[in-house]
Symmetry: C2
Subunit: 473 residues, 2 copies
């Protein structure tokens, strides 16, 4: 098959030049303008001797210039390493060095020690190379690299190809449909796949993205109506805050795409009552965003499920290399055109996780009789207590339904008798009675799953994607 395609933004600018590509606050860029800006920046990068095959690191927050910058790199045929702004400088330095980035493009106030760093403002002052030819896309080429922390050891660089991004965007459209007036609101950072995938959808669909620097519930609610948003990506915490402000679905919103781990049933039930069109998803950096989603028509009957695989992808459950039957718990293994090429310069990790196209997610779950996926937990967080498996998410979901508990986190703590026992960390709005809470849990959980200690905290440790980091509890 033909592996070369014209650069997507370049073609999009030819097909629908006057359609809006990005809205950020009062700023608006059409696809033609975005193309022109990205082409200019590419010609500026060319002055810095950036060539096809080079790697460029980007350390920026959600803004127009970041979108331009990413496309400019693709115009040159350069790979982009997306750096998490919340990491420490030494953590970032590792990623820059490991990926052999020739340049880091950043912004104020990131005061970086890295010698080849340049702010996007300084880059824009360079006089552009006069002769510049946009490089075609090769589907098998690595487009982006994102580092994910492993359960142990150094972070791994996930290589996402253009083909991964293409199939991710297309499979999502085949699932959610594609309307001419669709607009996607992005509050999640572009340095995470949940945010970045919207950028690819934008050029492939010819769709406007509405970019927010961060999630602010008031801004989001205003933007949905002012910018005519039809789809928004959310995670559990942002959905909780949104739902608290809503009594029904605001026009013209047609989909809240919920990612970032299993959501508590109580929250889903609340959304159902308010008729918020929640589409639960399951995905990760290595699958270039969603690989399974729950169609809205099943939101009631399959409450809590992450649904079925996207078109052209496959999901199975395995335990010790043996396929599980329906209902049996095991590791979630996935295959499909959105599964990464591998981990950058890490053949051991690639070989261990990718076999015959099947990717071992490390997550635990099961498929029900109808083939619906239920994600139980991240394998790393599994608590084994006296030989019994405890999935923290399950315990947290129960705790979160208790009055005055806003958020709950559960981790395993060493225990002389049981190996590990679960401890709970709670954010509360009003004092809770310990004995009553224990009884509440006992009524809903096997005894061994009931936390042996409760710690009241001000907030829970979450990463940039708002995912609970249980090991930091």
């Amino acid at each position: 098959m033909l592996m070369e395609q014209p650069n997507w933004l370049k073609q999009r600018a030819q097909l629908t030049p006057n359609r809006l590509a990005v809205i950020q606050g009062n700023k608006r860029l059409t696809f033609l303008k975005l193309f022109t800006e990205a082409e200019k920046m590419a010609a500026q990068l060319k002055r810095l001797a950036i060539e096809k095959g080079d790697t460029i690191a980007i350390l920026m927050t959600n803004r127009l210039e970041m979108v331009i910058c990413i496309h400019a790199c693709f115009f040159l045929g350069a790979r982009v390493v997306l750096l998490n702004t919340r990491l420490s400088e030494s953590e970032r330095l590792y990623q820059i060095e490991h990926s052999e980035a020739k340049l880091m493009i950043t912004e104020e106030p990131f005061d970086e020690q890295y010698k080849n760093a340049m702010t996007v403002e300084d880059l824009q002052k360079i006089s552009p190379e006069p002769f510049f030819q946009t490089v075609d896309i090769h589907l098998d080429d690595t487009a982006t690299i994102m580092y994910t922390s492993g359960t142990t050891g150094r972070p791994k660089g996930v290589m996402q190809t253009f083909s991964n991004h293409y199939f991710s965007a297309v499979s999502s459209a085949l699932n959610l449909g594609l309307m001419e007036d669709d607009r996607w609101l992005v509050t999640l950072p572009l340095f995470h796949i949940s945010g970045l995938s919207a950028l690819f959808k934008s050029v492939i669909y010819g769709m406007t993205i509405v970019l927010h620097k961060r999630f602010e519930v008031k801004d989001v609610l205003r933007s949905i109506q002012a910018d005519q948003v039809t789809i928004i990506s959310v995670v559990q915490t942002t959905l909780t805050r949104l739902s608290a402000e809503l009594s029904n679905c605001p026009e013209p919103l047609r989909c809240l795409l919920l990612g970032g781990g299993p959501a508590p049933s109580a929250l889903l039930e609340e959304c159902r009552k308010k008729q918020l069109p929640i589409v639960q998803t399951y995905g990760m950096t290595e699958t270039c965003s969603q690989i399974a989603t729950l169609a809205p028509q099943y939101s009631m009957t399959k409450l809590g499920s992450a649904g079925k695989p996207l078109f052209a992808s496959n999901i199975r459950i395995e335990r010790n290399g043996v396929p599980c039957t329906s209902g049996e718990h095991g590791e979630i293994i996935v295959k499909g055109p959105t599964v990464m090429k591998g981990y950058l310069k890490n053949e051991t990790a690639t070989r261990e996780s990718l076999k015959g196209g099947w990717f071992k997610t490390g997550d635990l779950g099961y498929l029900d009789n109808d083939g619906f996926l239920y994600v139980l937990d991240r394998r790393s967080d599994l608590i084994i207590s006296g030989g019994e498996n405890i999935y923290p998410a399950e315990v947290e979901a129960v705790l979160q339904t208790y009055p005055f508990v806003i958020e709950a986190g559960v981790k395993g703590v060493d225990d002389n008798i049981w190996g590990k026992v679960p401890h709970a960390f709670l954010v509360i709005s009003k004092a809770v009675d310990r004995e009553e809470l224990i009884q509440f849990c006992k009524d809903r959980l096997a005894a061994y799953k009931v936390p042996k200690a409760f710690h009241i905290v001000e907030k829970l440790p979450r990463n940039a994607a708002n995912k609970l980091m249980r090991h930091k509890l």
Copy 2:
């Protein structure tokens, strides 16, 4: 990139088992039922020793069984040759033999001499092989073969891969959008790419197709409302007849996809007045359906244009191997993921038409300043009659084998019903019997290819190189 995908119908049946796949009259098949039927037929074909890599010819009219049959072949990993029911038996025999089809599946009343022919009804009586495993799809594998007549010599077998079909379906959705309630009405035969492409869209989108045996304007109008049709594929002749019966766009129709050659401006203007949402397209068997379409918002300002390339495809105009500038007329050259793999067992023709991924269509046209394609003429002398392609050279070759015919020239003449019909111009050595000549043609050619008029002339107009100038006939 990952080239294997689960069989599309199998996966579709897992994803949306209860959604309707096909409606034909009062008959309705869900995706699950279609899957079950196709799996059964595949197991029946297995009994006939059909294996992965074999070729099966299908000679049927639009009906549920034909859809089942095509999918059954894919389940086995067999390639499908789609035979035009309007061809003469000798024309079909050539295609069966050239493609080395192991079996021809047909239906009454096609009384075929071919020894390995079997009606679908007889096939369905075979007891199915008990152990049957659906073969995965490999994107580079040839899925279907359709023969197109060349300008000279024997028809060529166009090899359409799964990848071609995937990108064709997806690029169309990226262009037309994809609604949950979309239903596509197919009156064009499934043995043409315009019809067959809807079958692939059905499984890839999870969309219902409404199948008609032929175009009957009353049936189509009834079906649009009764079956809630949103999209219909038309050619000039069927659009003319539809438009005559309509004063405005019937609910819930949102798109009339117009293919099969340039339409007269008067017809497009009439449709515009009636607010019929016409989407003009340009495509051919070798590009696996549409490769360019005119977005509805340009239907007025770019009247008569076939629009811009679909996403990931490219169009350029060339004359004598040199790219033309805007407005300059030349040959239309296309590149993209929907362009065929090549002509079956015909390396010469493949090499001549496909260079570096660019396919020389043989059609004439130009691109305007905004990049919109205008198709001037199809393959110099191609006659499009009621959506069917007629190559003058093929008809001339038959006429020239008739006794006393020294030379023959064929050209298209305007016709109110069919758009164009073929007329013959003959140089003869002795009087010929008109009825006998017609019968002679009918035995060797599809009825629509038989000239509607015969003109006896003294000599044919030829240029200095002795090449027939058909436009001067």
